[in-house]
Symmetry: D2
Amino acid sequence: MAAGSNGGESLIIVMDAAAAPADLEQVLDRLRAAGGSAEATTQAGRVVVAAGVPHPVPPPAWEALPGVERVFHLASPVRLVSRHHQPADSVVEVGAARLGGGGFTVIAGPCAVESREQILAAAAAVQAAGASLLRGDAFKPRTSPYSFQGLGRAGLDLLAEARERFGLPFVAEVVDPRQVEMVAGYADLIRIGSRNMSNFTLLAEAGRQPRPVMLKRGFTATIEEWLDAAEYICKEGNPRIVLCERGIRTFESQTRNTLDISAVPVVQSLSHLPVVVDPSHAAGRRALVAPLTLAALAVGADGVMIDVHPEPESALVDGAQALPPGEFAALMERVRALAAVL
Amino acid sequence: MAAGSNGGESLIIVMDAAAAPADLEQVLDRLRAAGGSAEATTQAGRVVVAAGVPHPVPPPAWEALPGVERVFHLASPVRLVSRHHQPADSVVEVGAARLGGGGFTVIAGPCAVESREQILAAAAAVQAAGASLLRGDAFKPRTSPYSFQGLGRAGLDLLAEARERFGLPFVAEVVDPRQVEMVAGYADLIRIGSRNMSNFTLLAEAGRQPRPVMLKRGFTATIEEWLDAAEYICKEGNPRIVLCERGIRTFESQTRNTLDISAVPVVQSLSHLPVVVDPSHAAGRRALVAPLTLAALAVGADGVMIDVHPEPESALVDGAQALPPGEFAALMERVRALAAVL
Amino acid sequence: MAAGSNGGESLIIVMDAAAAPADLEQVLDRLRAAGGSAEATTQAGRVVVAAGVPHPVPPPAWEALPGVERVFHLASPVRLVSRHHQPADSVVEVGAARLGGGGFTVIAGPCAVESREQILAAAAAVQAAGASLLRGDAFKPRTSPYSFQGLGRAGLDLLAEARERFGLPFVAEVVDPRQVEMVAGYADLIRIGSRNMSNFTLLAEAGRQPRPVMLKRGFTATIEEWLDAAEYICKEGNPRIVLCERGIRTFESQTRNTLDISAVPVVQSLSHLPVVVDPSHAAGRRALVAPLTLAALAVGADGVMIDVHPEPESALVDGAQALPPGEFAALMERVRALAAVL
Amino acid sequence: MAAGSNGGESLIIVMDAAAAPADLEQVLDRLRAAGGSAEATTQAGRVVVAAGVPHPVPPPAWEALPGVERVFHLASPVRLVSRHHQPADSVVEVGAARLGGGGFTVIAGPCAVESREQILAAAAAVQAAGASLLRGDAFKPRTSPYSFQGLGRAGLDLLAEARERFGLPFVAEVVDPRQVEMVAGYADLIRIGSRNMSNFTLLAEAGRQPRPVMLKRGFTATIEEWLDAAEYICKEGNPRIVLCERGIRTFESQTRNTLDISAVPVVQSLSHLPVVVDPSHAAGRRALVAPLTLAALAVGADGVMIDVHPEPESALVDGAQALPPGEFAALMERVRALAAVL
């Protein structure tokens, strides 16, 4: 059995033009020792080895072997989050809301919970405009230790109150593995933020509790790495995962990050998980939220997550990107009109 | 007169906390010597100088002066291609087609002209499906000198024949300042490609001839640099410019480049020029062309340019991204349905 | 008091050319309400506001206010890790080794502890060649959940045995806030890896224990963000921090990451903390380790951290970049010769 | 004959797990039709085709064929500029100066020629300090059309005068294919700048004239693309090429670009051409020029090109990065001391 089970890997090893026959022998010996299968072929003066190695034998460092020029790692076809593993779309239910399998789910609310008045006003506004889920964070990972870090547990209590009053399930960020259980005790959907996408201990904790998990793409992560991060959650036993594209770091400075809109169809081809878009954090500019939301809908995303604040100019966090309630309601009208023809 | 005319510049110069009074005096003296105006203010222990300097006095290197910590250059409000200079949308007419000012113009055809049969079949297909302009290149800038470089002038003759037969104006790339006049003698719209966006002599030649010009964004250019490149054309006397976003280079490798969909509304806020999207070259993968086209429409682009090839699997250039005629026709149906509600 | 204490911030707010006088008034009112000071000046048709706001009043979202075009945030001059705060170099002592304040400290050993034989052989080799610190990890954050994750606590026991036998203090990675105390009970220097640079709860824990901390640059972090991460540790009470540059993510694929050699003198100008270079993880290729080590020495780094493995081709992690003992010893000779003239 | 001659290419084509046998047949048929050779092997559930195709048959778009999942293009082993083609270092002679084959050649002078006084003072200073070549440009490609564009031919006359007086050969940039012959009539070494690295018509003209050519890396080009650009020059008959690394565009903003110091040993392993480093344009900051020059020497570069200006604070172009004569002379002392032990 080669790469036919979870975690197996397919490799292509290209030998250097000047590699000795003994170099090739060593590569083949090690592949066999690792429990893998391999076949070598010579083309255009180079020997190319196609191989499969099973989990859990750890691979030696193929690139380190004498005579090896390059190694290409093919994504495993058997990752749990992959389409190969599950061809049908996953549908993740969050309270009465559904993400995935068609439909376009709108999550909206303030970046951070700031006060009882603020979160209740925001929840009222987004519910009235037609959102299905409320967002609002009580723990904020901030670049500077001197920035506002969130209200903590008191913020979760306020979110729970808003849920009860307006009937909206809510999503909230978790930043510390020691808090996963506590946050999951409040939130309907827990979120792992962009800066924590590679916080593997946090991912594993999220995989060991029963709430669905939203996993934001690291703003500097490749799609492969993002899916590997989702695999960390899934492998621990929690397959209820929603992916969220929120822009990547590039050299362009007109927007905070560059929304990778192509990531939506790419991920949908590689994985069965639902994918939503966060236009607010991607752009960092209010004027871009509406066009990017419509683009996300047109490209086939399973939903969006939008910053809405009752008074953006007073927001403690990211006010420059938050929509006031009136603009959000107008956008929702356009979303419904467009969704009707798509 | 400070920055009130073409080319004037506004600067903010931040002095180091440890700068000496004489350092500040030198900065102010030089600003005055450059014909500019300046005012210094002290805040939070630092001196900040806000200044304006006129064109065409070249600025000294402000960063090089003793005591200067940082210099911020504000984009000139008086660039010819800017919204400040012309608040109303530019509309560029290309034969019977129009780009800008509302509407969604579809340009389609093969990446490269390969043969008479190929270009006529492609033109027939894109015209039948409803495209307004034909694309097809006779000169291809290729990364490797050993790749197919285009049919040259013979290719332009074939494009002219296709235009006559199917009534479609065409766009073709120009890669050499010595050929601008010749290519402009054939094409309805000449194109400067991504790799030549900073080929300033080519830009200037394009500005000195009467045809409209499509300027693709360099795949590693900021939006500011792209608009500066457009200014090169405009400054020479040719304001008929169409911008084309085609993806930027990032670390993500699932797509050839990362389509910067946000660039469309950003450019529309900064400039009066029309902006189209090239989903084919951005993604480099056929399956992404349809979703990205719909996203371009939804985000508010003035059009798209799509690779269509009668037989993509035989294409000499970029076949992996070309749509066959049937897929293109189906996409056009979806474009029309969506455009009707936007 | 404006930005004269920890966490204060200096801002430059540029008003839009079309901003109304009331817009400016609102900005100034809010700055005053935030306890800050501000002064407005008009240059080249724009109003520029230079302002300082104190900690801990959280700043409103200045960019969200009507009429605001751009906001420039100047780095606080009073960050604890900055040269402004402490002009003299910090020297961090780790056992008998010293980092910072001149000198060039070599840390070497395997990427991961794999077995007793391996770590003892590695420690013997690097000690014989002249290294001052041993590296070796017991917890590995891996992109894929199916990769080798380290020996855990048993690995730390082996490192402690190697320390005792060869008299070398050691550095080991910590990946989970719940393990900081345990790892710090073993290691002489605890390390926060590149993927965890923005794991703020982990940073805070590292700041609350007495061991010195090595903080690797996130491979996609700016220098500003890296220093902000160091500030998280320092703010909690632990100023014994060593920074480690290990390459950043770019579009170049010949190397795993692009070693940002310029970051060394840039960081040294901004901060008093020592900076070392990890050429092994930056390049990911053994042949580049020696030239990059010499470059790090020449550019003025305070040291290097090098992967050395007794048998690289059998390494479970990153063998392609590890030096065998003989190559490491030869490199140390060259380092000593070069250091003598620098 | 497969990839044994110039321009041949080696490919690895990975078939999709779900590909039909007929898909594989079509791939193999087309490879054969292209004059290539191919062999298929099945590993871990996938078919992998290793193939070689000869020049000049243009490759079909392999990625476009049904059932193809991925295509890896291996660099041709037979490129003229490659080490495979010529194992020994190329040495490029420029007047009495030599680049390549050991040694460390220093090129220095102002970014742009501004006046007779300026260039003569600069030439006197760099010659006295020990530089082997003078730099100074008469044609400047500038991002904005309103920036200083150089003195043109008059600048070349001044450079020729400086050469005669101080006995230093000089390098000057060429930006237009129509000027190559003219500039080459003056300069000892013509330079193609970073923004023109992919200006293929300019590259071809440089390949058709007898002067040696310095080719700067595009600041957004991969090393592969850089070598392809060099191949354009070489293929036209001019093998006297000097490569110049000058920093790449990344997200880091503390330096203008990120000097890719690793590119030096990487290029030296792939190509026989000499490689120099331009620390001035990479960093854009004077204080970084000295440490980066020493790093370039230590990493094994064949030389450096440094901006030196008699009065940097008055420079019309890039004064912030230019060294004044005294600092340059001090740096040359350190270079000589370091070179003695390397």
